[in-house]
């Protein structure tokens, strides 16, 4: 392996414009020399920005560096440059699975399986399908409760939200959950984790509106790969976070946020 790296390095040194940076980067990646592999690949891509295999390699290095977001972007680029690229389809399937986007993972892996009878792809596809079946059998969102059950604060927003892919959380000024739940794709309530991370955005929002003389912020909405997240300040410096599926129209997100905020105000005011 060391000989191969030396040989490929010499070749690249002789001809810096060649595409040998891909096998060299791959050899370095396999040796675990990720920083060096990244450097070689980025340099190669500067000269060959439209070389799909270069982006494919960069995606694999990114996975090894636990940077799934970048891996996703790179494989996405590969599929634009070379639609049907098997490495990218497999890679996208992997990233989506890791992110809990099982339907998309199945789509990518199915496409990969059609172009390749690789056993690993077939096995990954079966694994994803099994995970989807498992999720389908899980008890539904605990925020969907029998009507009138509001004693447990986890279910505060149950009757305000209109489908199982909507979830809301009320956080106190320290980012701790007061009410509501955030249910992950596998049925776990990850409200505390999600709330703690998202509550940090409010400091930046407060700072921006103060310095730009816009008044106190009233809402933030951001669309992510897996959800639309909307936030609004609540009583006593608290924060209300609403998450919906990406399919939810933004106007409806706003209305749901207003309804949840009103529900939170009433609850915090002891009127529920």
């Amino acid at each position: 392996m060391a000989d191969e790296v030396r040989r490929l390095s010499d070749e690249l040194a002789r001809d810096p414009g060649s595409r040998v940076f891909v096998p060299l980067g791959e050899a370095l990646r396999r040796q675990g020399q990720l920083d060096l592999a990244l450097k070689v690949t980025l340099r190669g891509l500067e000269r060959h920005p439209h070389f799909a295999d270069g982006h494919d390699l960069l995606a694999r290095i990114s996975v090894d560096r636990d940077d799934l977001e970048r891996a996703f972007d790179e494989w996405d680029m590969v599929l634009r440059l070379a639609p049907g690229h098997l490495g990218a389809l497999r890679g996208m399937g992997f990233v989506c699975f890791q992110q809990g986007r099982l339907a998309e993972a199945e789509e990518y892996l199915s496409a990969a399986a059609q172009g390749d009878d690789d056993e690993q792809v077939a096995s990954a596809l079966e694994h994803v399908r099994a995970a989807r079946r498992e999720v389908a059998e899980l008890p539904r969102d605990p925020s969907r409760l029998p009507a009138g059950t509001t004693h447990d604060p986890r279910y505060l927003f149950a009757d305000v939200l209109s489908d199982a892919e909507q979830t809301a959380l009320l956080l106190d000024r320290d980012g701790l959950v007061l009410a509501g739940a955030y249910v992950a794709w596998d049925g776990r309530d990850v409200g505390q984790e999600v709330g703690a991370e998202l509550s940090g955005v409010t400091d930046a929002a407060r700072r921006a509106t103060r310095h730009l003389a816009l008044g106190e912020w009233t809402s933030i909405v951001f669309e992510t790969e897996v959800a639309v997240v909307a936030m609004t300040p609540s009583t006593n410096d608290g924060l209300l976070v609403l998450a919906t599926s990406r399919a939810t129209p933004l106007g409806l997100v706003r209305r749901l946020l207003d309804r949840c905020a009103e529900r939170a105000r009433r609850w915090q005011g002891g009127r529920i």
Binding site: P49, E193, V194, V201, R207, A208, L214, T218, I220, A227
Partner: protein, 123 residues
């Protein structure tokens, strides 16, 4: 390379009614790359604050397992800040409260590809 590589993007955004500023900002540094501003507006200030807000939203969403952020909007009584990211660049719009956010959002998302393409050349 043009001295104002993002001029077309920024012009199309500032043509929208109630939009008061459009900027391309370096997300990491929070500094202006290029801007269309009204007289009296501080591009440096908007870039630092909006860039930081977008970055915080992006990192928080990622840490919370929500994946990459595409569009972000902040609303306040005095106006709105909308942003999209492309590579290390963030395209920011500041607007009056009356702005048609749907239209701004469409324009911003349409501009992402161009932002990535021109941003790559600029970098």
């Amino acid at each position: 390379m043009s001295a104002r590589p993002f001029a077309a993007i920024l012009d199309s955004l500032t043509r929208q009614r109630w939009v008061t500023a459009a900027l391309v900002v370096s997300e990491r540094d929070g500094i202006v790359v290029e801007s269309n501003l009204q007289i009296g507006q501080s591009g440096d200030r908007v870039a630092a604050l909006a860039g930081s807000l977008y970055r915080k939203a992006r990192l928080s969403a990622r840490a919370a397992g929500l994946g990459a952020v595409s569009f972000m909007q902040l609303e306040a009584p005095g106006g709105r800040i909308c942003a999209v990211g492309g590579g290390d660049l963030v395209l920011v719009v500041v607007a009056e409260p009356a702005v048609n956010v749907g239209l701004v959002r469409v324009e911003l998302l349409r501009a992402v590809g161009e932002l990535l393409a021109v941003g790559g050349e600029v970098a």
